[in-house]
């Protein structure tokens, strides 16, 4: 039996930091830097609820199996908070995805959000749906959803490729409030141009912390910051050692 000690140690440090910051979360509240996109999102959702308009959450075009599931999992947290805020409105939130399994998870998230506020009878299984099985067929289905559902807040939080730019642009053309993030670097560049409120880098994973989804979300950001500093120090140390001709 062989162990990858380095990988295992990093993972254990991550878990330790996550649990530590979660335990300290209430006594030592975190203060995060301003993210205008998330700050504006709350007001946009309130406006949509008051105007009887719909909030749409897109969980991206990635599948549940694979690394691209992570931003969609973070998106499900955002969906949960958005669903809770809109559940008693005339038009509760809808969620779309390009993956069948992710659509099932979106339905579960919406159902749970409805049940938590005692409105299980208002839940519609079609509120969480798969629009198309491929990235571009998903993008092709979006304009109809945005138009027929009366969407005024368009949240893109998941794994997108180039089709994410089209998805954001469809929302902008309807003058909706568009907030968009992806795990793909190229898609992030495109979303920076097409969406009014782009999420850059790991901001797509920070939705839960900024929307107060629980102590573990704040703890995640703190643990990430500690590990990031350690990685930067390791890179600097490696660069210095290499410059001095010391091989590792």
């Amino acid at each position: 039996m062989n162990f990858d000690w380095v990988g295992l140690a990093i993972l254990l440090v991550f878990v330790f930091l996550l649990l530590l910051f979660a335990a300290l979360g209430r006594r030592w509240p975190a203060s995060f830097r301003r993210l205008p996109a998330y700050e504006a999102l709350g007001a946009a959702i309130e406006r949509a609820v008051e105007a009887g308009e719909r909030v749409h959450v897109s969980l991206g075009t990635g599948s549940v199996i694979g690394p691209e599931s992570a931003p969609a999992m973070a998106g499900l947290v955002v969906l949960s908070k958005v669903a809770a805020a809109t559940v008693m409105s005339d038009r509760p939130a809808v969620a779309t995805t390009a993956d069948g399994a992710m659509a099932v998870l979106a339905q579960d998230t919406l159902r749970t959000a409805h049940a938590r506020v005692g409105a299980a009878d208002r839940y519609q299984p079609t509120a969480g749906r798969m629009l198309g099985a491929t990235p571009y067929s998903y993008a092709a289905g979006l304009p109809v959803v945005l138009a027929t559902e009366g969407v005024s807040v368009h949240i893109l939080t998941g794994s997108f490729g180039a089709e994410g730019a089209l998805a954001a642009d469809f929302g902008e053309r309807r003058h909706a409030f568009v907030i968009a993030g992806s795990d793909d670097v190229h898609a992030q560049a495109l979303l920076h141009a097409t969406a009014d409120n782009p999420l850059i880098g790991e901001e797509v994973f920070a939705g839960g912390a900024y929307l107060n989804a629980g102590v573990f979300h704040g703890a995640s950001l703190r643990a990430q910051d500690v590990i990031r500093v350690l990685v930067i120090l390791a890179i600097l140390a490696g660069t210095l050692l290499r410059t001095l001709g010391i091989g590792l």
């Binding site: 069948g100 079609t126 138009a147 027929t148 730019a165 642009d169 795990d183 670097v185 790991e202 573990f216």
Partner: protein, 210 residues
């Protein structure tokens, strides 16, 4: 009863996720085989979920047609084409010429059209960004995009000194500044992905509901 249910789902997610994760760090034959088995189950479940997703899509559009909501003719068209493709696939098999033609002459051109539309959308979005967000970041973004375009696009008179300069500038921007920034972004994304996965494994996030 309800409390018991979510504890069971969480325990199942933690156990299966833990075994799959451990398989990456511990090279033990039994664990590796178990990980492979779980991954195969996950693929099977994902395929079943795709079927559920399609049925859900069908239900959503049938609902629209039934209520004759706005845009219902598009929903009706989707249902007809979806069922037609399904019947053709079941009768002739997925490798049949007719079924392949549906993808080759309908789906692929539509997707290619959307890709072409992306270029137009991006140009319009660039103009819109300059109009709406007049800050330093937008100016840097647009300026860099223009420099990269000038360094990539063919020039009318071929390889003049100016095109070579822009070509060099493009490479410098892409290979030094953009690549460095992209590595930083990828690092942040990777850290975010790890914590998101750990939250699910620790049962703090329960995307499967309560």
């Amino acid at each position: 009863m309800k409390l018991g249910a979510w504890i069971v789902w969480t325990a199942v997610a933690m156990a299966f996720g833990g075994v799959v994760l451990a398989g990456y760090f511990v090279q033990w034959q039994t664990l590796l085989e178990l990980r492979l088995l779980f991954m195969r189950w996950a693929i099977l479940l994902s395929a079943t979920a795709l079927l559920l997703g399609i049925l859900n899509l069908l239900a959503a559009h049938l609902h629209k047609v039934n209520l004759q909501e706005s845009g219902w003719p598009y929903s009706a068209l989707l249902i007809v084409i979806l069922l037609g493709t399904l019947v053709l696939g079941l009768v002739f098999g997925p490798d049949n010429r007719v079924v392949l033609s549906l993808f080759e002459y309908i789906q692929l051109p539509v997707e290619a059209t959307l890709m072409a539309l992306l270029a137009v959308s991006l140009a319009a979005a660039g103009v819109r960004m300059v109009m709406r967000r007049r800050d330093i970041y937008s100016l840097i973004f647009i300026g860099t995009a223009l420099l990269v375009l000038l360094g990539t696009a063919p020039w009318p008179l071929g390889g003049t000194g100016l095109s070579a300069t822009f070509g060099w500038l493009r490479n410098w921007l892409a290979q030094v500044w953009a690549a460095g920034a992209a590595r930083g972004i990828v690092l942040g994304v990777a850290l975010g992905a790890v914590t998101t996965g750990l939250r699910v494994l620790l049962g703090a996030d329960r995307p499967y509901g309560d």
